[in-house]
């Protein structure tokens, strides 16, 4: 038996859309607790997208991450 091995085009688009929404939010959010959640979620989504072969140009780095926020 084979499990579902690929996303549908619609699922893929919605995943990418979620990622972009969170990138925007992370760029403006100043609430540390929320920013931390965004940063973690972005890293997870990025790995998921990359794993599905979705091409994203930048080397991902949320603004303010690592340098204190």
């Amino acid at each position: 038996m084979t499990n579902d091995s690929s996303l549908t085009p619609e699922q893929r688009d919605r995943l990418l859309e979620s990622y972009r929404t969170l990138v925007d939010l992370a760029g403006t959010c100043r609430v540390p607790a929320v920013f931390a959640a965004l940063r973690g979620a972005l890293a997870e989504l990025r790995v998921a997208l990359d794993g599905q072969g979705v091409e994203l140009d930048d080397y991902y780095r949320p603004v303010g991450a690592g340098a204190g926020n």
Binding site: A43, G53, Y59, Y60, G66
Partner: protein, 435 residues
């Protein structure tokens, strides 16, 4: 067949290779732009995979160490400000042999966990399994990624760092742990401890999947562990320099360790000529990382001797080539003794054949100008005349299997050091003697 990530694991080969090339090109650009170390080593104008292997020099551990010595702690190697790191790891450096230090960004760490998930899922681990990771949880990266992967998959993880082996055996039985991560040498230690406690692991515990990584092992050791635990042992490996799990054993074909090819390119080169060898031929594994953003790796000469085979030889549906038998041995662990090549795994193979021997330590010494193997073995129930008789049998078996007759000495039970991590059972003491 079920896959953690079916798209990546079963991608048609041509598509996979194009994907690798796009990732490599992007990784090279990122490195040249952001890392002084790589900017010096990677020339401009690499337009194909062939140009890449032709123009980018091999990277040796000494190169990384020199960079880190010149600009501690990470050297000029990073491609991102280390402030983006969310964790630090380093190799187990010994005196006179400093550690390699690395950091991981949040994205890097999620990716590392994901490569562990790929391995664990292939080996039958599913959410709601109970897992125990018997590992030191220290500076060494080791099974840290496995811990995070198990959480990510929805398993319940018992972190058994810093516990004595009796407590670990009790946890396995009391919590009916199904998934166990550890080194082969520590698995052997648990078997010994369980026997002392009167625990039959195969009957009283419930371990089904064992991920025994981090060191080359003999087939005999794998079989012994599987019988004692009544579980399937799977091989997997990663390195601190690369960061993630680059290979894991397939459940379909014993010994077939699939390379996680969307995230790594594994060349196999002849140890002396440094020319590529074909499928089925032994050579040294040379790693290129395609994903990590903080500390990148291009053409790293690992010293691991491997044999690569095409994915079609497996038949599980994955399109990832595999290393047959995983890491067979370390090129730099091979010692010449009177013209005979000897590795720690060869010695282990002989000694594990003696059920009386619970632990051992072997060294190469110069005795009256002649290099020889000196073996210290623990054999608890052997006394009187049986002792010299056992020594003679061990020496004879060495002579037959390896071609060298060692000096064998029995020592008190429990007197030799046990390790949870990276067994090093062949100590070359020749230089010390000459010094």
């Amino acid at each position: 067949m079920e896959y953690w990530n079916g798209r990546a694991e079963t991608m048609p080969r041509e598509e996979l290779e194009r994907w690798q090339w796009r990732r490599l090109r992007r990784a090279l650009d990122h490195a040249r732009e952001n890392s002084p170390f790589w900017a010096e080593r990677i020339p401009d104008g690499i337009t194909s995979m062939a140009a890449y292997t032709e123009k980018v020099p091999l990277l040796y551990k000494a190169d990384l160490l020199a960079s880190q010595r010149a600009a501690p702690p990470y050297g000029t190697w990073p491609s991102l400000d280390p402030a983006y790191g969310v964790r630090h790891h380093q190799t187990s450096g010994t005196s006179g042999n400093p550690p390699v230090r690395t950091f991981d960004t949040e994205r890097d760490w999620k990716w590392i966990s994901d490569t562990f998930c790929t391995a664990l899922y292939a080996n039958g681990v599913r959410s709601q399994h109970k897992a125990l990771v018997a590992f030191g949880y220290g500076l060494f990266a080791g099974f840290w990624g496995m811990h995070y992967a198990l959480e990510r998959m929805g398993c319940t993880v018992v972190p058994a760092g810093g516990l004595d082996s009796k407590t670990v055996v009790r946890l396995l039985v009391d919590y009916q742990i199904e998934v166990l991560g550890l080194t082969p040498s520590y698995a052997m230690r648990l078997i010994e401890t369980a026997a002392e406690m009167g625990v039959d692991l195969a009957r009283d515990a419930n371990v089904k999947v064992m991920l025994a990584g981090a060191e080359p092992r003999s087939d005999f050791t794998t079989r012994t562990i599987e019988q004692a635990f009544g579980a399937r042992v799977f091989n997997a490996a990663g390195t601190t320099e690369f960061g993630a799990v680059f290979m894991f054993e397939c459940p379909t074909r014993r010994g077939a360790c699939h390379i996680n090819e969307p995230t790594v390119i594994e060349e196999v080169l002849h140890p002396e000529t440094k020319e590529p060898v074909g499928y089925g031929e032994e050579g040294v594994r040379v790693t290129t990382g395609l994903y990590r953003e903080g500390m990148q790796l291009f053409r790293h000469w690992t010293e691991d001797i491997v044999v690569k085979r095409p994915y079609t030889d497996c038949g599980c549906g994955r399109t990832w080539d595999f290393l047959d038998g995983g890491i067979l041995r370390r090129y730099d662990d091979m010692r010449k003794i009177r013209g005979v090549s000897v590795t720690p795994v060869m010695i282990e193979d002989v000694l594990r054949g003696f059920t009386e021997v619970s632990e051992f330590r072997s060294s190469i010494r110069t005795v009256r100008g002649l290099d020889t193997i000196h073996v210290q073995a623990e054999a608890s129930d052997i006394t009187g005349e049986a002792a010299p008789e056992l020594c003679a049998r061990i020496a004879e078996e060495f002579k037959r299997e390896i071609g060298i007759r060692p000096q064998v000495e029995l020592v008190l039970a429990g007197s030799l050091p046990r390790t949870k991590w990276k067994a090093a059972r062949l100590h070359d003491e020749r230089q010390l003697a000459h010094a």
